[in-house]
């Protein structure tokens, strides 16, 4: 790894801690540069794809195929006036975009692009991701409260309801993976997937994907910024660079979520038939693919109502994730008792059958959207 | 200068005292709850400090249980606060005096 070599080289000249600090800063810089470039590419891709889904061209003025559109957007946003509402809580209003922007960046520190391209292979990797991801919501809170705008406040309440509801199935669906792998490190999780986990645990994959999509506020779960109900939600009072930070943070979070889906369930940088290009490329390709599926869902499905939104988490995703844990646990126990290697083929078919059956039958057992509508 | 167990214990004591002071001196029930969380956090620091310096993991096990209890306490505490607010339009702990003699 290049950073490691740089560290060894610098440590020859400087005291050890100085070398650590410098190498850490270099790593962070590389990560931020990569992060921002990825976000720009993805924004362009999304606008182009959504355009096609809606039978229009999408951006096509700035540069060939509108490829310079994100740069034009950036210039536009940077030259806007920075407006702070008169009655806003100034400090909270100022700090909110920063708090919303940083966590997705921190998540990228443990994304295993390639065995030697991971900034820090923490041994609590996935737990770190979940923990850091839960900080991002504080930014939305601060923005919603600090703007002293009733629509922002409603949006902040929705953020609270959404976080409390969707964090639960998100974490529980990861447990299925951790049970099989027996380690929290992201590198171990990728290395264990000779068969990608979405084949072995379709139910866990489904729950994680949907909960992650809700967690990063992608449509149809983007109730916090439902334009038709509460204008733009918590960032209604933001303009200029602060709005850009929210925008980047949102896309960064979506990108981090698709990277997590890739690492946890799609085998990370692994490719079924050997690795012809470096696994880095495969990882990015899978990540962008997952992101495109998110666009697809976004441009196909209408937005949920608030009661349907929380009801979906508690009535569908939550029991599904519990059943997934039970299933995986039982199968692991059986495999251990019988001395089989982990997850032989019959289990795979069993899992798919159970998942298919539950997805078909479970929604018949309850009704969404007959309750009261609050918030 | 090295950081020993004493430093962590004193930090824990300082945080605990701040939490105790706040929990006793504040009238807003939500703030009282926040101060109780600070106290539980302070205890956790002491537990993890002991566990580290004695090389026993039992302290961390205790910290895990303290966190569980803290989560349960926060959920029930906030439910009580919201229920009180609904019936009295106030979360002032001084005004909730039905059980006072």
């Amino acid at each position: 790894m290049i950073l490691k070599r740089l560290l060894d080289w610098l440590a020859g000249y400087w005291p050890e801690w100085a070398a650590y600090v410098v190498v850490g800063l270099v790593g962070i810089m590389v990560l931020i540069a990569f992060f921002l470039t990825m976000i720009m590419v993805v924004i362009w891709l999304e606008r182009k794809l959504i355009g096609r889904f809606q039978v229009r061209w999408g951006p096509n003025r700035a540069g060939p195929w509108g490829i310079l559109q994100p740069i034009a957007d950036a210039i536009k946003v940077l030259t806007k006036e920075d407006i702070v509402p008169d009655r806003a809580d100034k400090w909270v209003h100022l700090l909110a975009p920063v708090v919303a922007f940083v966590p997705p960046l921190l998540i990228f520190a443990v994304i295993p692009f390639q065995p030697d391209a991971i900034l820090a292979d923490l041994n609590i990797g996935i737990l770190y991701v979940v923990a850091v991801g839960s900080i991002a919501v504080v930014g939305a809170f601060m923005a919603g409260w600090g703007s002293s705008n009733k629509y922002s406040l409603i949006s902040a309440m929705r953020v609270a309801a959404q976080m409390v509801s969707y964090e639960v199935p998100l974490v529980l669906s990861i447990i299925g993976v951790i049970l099989v792998v027996g380690s929290l490190s992201m590198m171990d999780i990728v290395n264990r997937q000779s068969l990608p986990f979405f084949l072995m645990q379709p139910l866990g994959f489904l729950v994680f994907f949907l909960a992650a999509a809700a967690e990063v506020n992608r449509s149809p779960f983007d109730l916090l910024e439902a334009e038709s109900e509460i204008i733009a939600g918590y960032h209604v009072e933001y303009s200029g660079m602060k709005f850009a930070l929210f925008y980047l943070g949102e896309y960064g979070h979506a990108l981090a979520a698709s990277a997590l889906v890739t690492a946890l369930f799609l085998g990370g940088g692994k490719f079924p038939w050997g690795a012809l290009p470096p696994s880095f490329i495969w990882f990015l390709a899978k990540m962008v693919l997952v992101f495109c599926v998110l666009f697809w869902i976004r441009s196909t499905l209408p937005r949920l109502r608030v009661d349907q939104f929380t009801g979906f988490a508690w009535k569908f995703l939550f029991p599904m994730s519990l059943i997934n844990i039970f299933l995986v646990g039982t199968e692991l126990w059986w495999a251990k008792e019988m001395g089989w290697s982990l997850f032989p083929w019959p289990f795979l078919f069993l899992n798919w059958a159970i998942a298919g059956m539950l997805v078909l039958v479970w929604p018949k057992l309850f009704q969404l959207g007959v309750g009261r509508v609050e918030v | 200068m090295t950081i020993g167990l004493e430093h962590y214990l004193i930090l824990s004591a300082v945080l605990f005292s701040i939490g105790l002071f706040g929990a006793l001196a504040k009238r807003n029930a939500v703030v009282v709850l926040m101060c109780i969380e600070i106290m539980l956090n302070a205890v956790n620091i002491a537990m993890v400090g002991f566990s580290r310096f004695w090389g026993l993991l039992t302290g961390q096990v205790f910290a895990v249980f303290i966190m569980t209890v803290a989560a349960a306490e926060a959920a029930v505490g906030i439910a009580i606060i919201i229920a009180i607010y609904r019936s009295r339009q106030s979360v002032d702990v001084g005004e909730v005096d039905l059980m006072k003699w």
Binding site: - | M1, A13, I38, R52, Q60, T68
Partner: protein, 164 residues
């Protein structure tokens, strides 16, 4: 050297944030400082090489309890009335100061704290699980009781705030 600087930075940050929780007038800002204090304590856990606990600290305290508290602040709308002091604040201050002095004296006067360099840090997730779920000397029953407690808390919270 690095440990010393980090410890003091985190200690000062957590104490200042805790003081801000008590002394700020704005309840929402107090809650934000509470979150900052939680994160600083998570840093202290990392310094004590309790990596698993640090992540759990952020997940539970910031992600769950912090969110709940902010939610409660928004629901109760008590911000206009601020963060008033009770009548007993001088007694409370005396109680806090007495407790602090007692503990500090006790800590300083006790000889025989395990001093010097602690054992080298290592990953704690697996040893912690072994300690927690060991069938002979572990904490399986307390663990189950804790889960029952959580269930009871969830049901209790729902019953309390249910509107009839």
């Amino acid at each position: 050297m690095g440990t010393v600087i980090t410890f003091w930075a985190l200690a000062v940050a957590s104490v200042v944030a805790a003081l801000a929780v008590v002394f700020l007038r704005d309840v929402f800002r107090a809650a934000l400082f509470l979150l900052a204090s939680f994160i600083a304590v998570a840093g202290i856990f990392l310094l004590l090489s309790a990596d698993f606990l640090a992540a759990i600290q952020v997940l539970i305290y910031v992600g769950a309890i912090g969110v709940l508290i902010v939610f409660a602040i928004m629901l109760t709308r008590e911000v206009k009335r601020g963060n008033p002091w009770g009548r007993m604040r001088f007694l409370a201050a005396i109680a806090g100061a007495l407790l602090l002095v007692t503990i500090v004296l006790a800590v300083v006067n006790t000889a025989g704290w395990p001093g010097g360099t602690p054992p080298p840090p290592q990953a704690t997730t697996e040893p912690l699980a072994m300690r927690l779920f060991d069938l002979e000397t572990g904490f399986v029953l307390p663990f189950e009781i804790a889960s029952v407690l959580l269930l009871a808390a969830v049901i209790g919270a729902i019953v309390l705030v249910r509107e009839r």
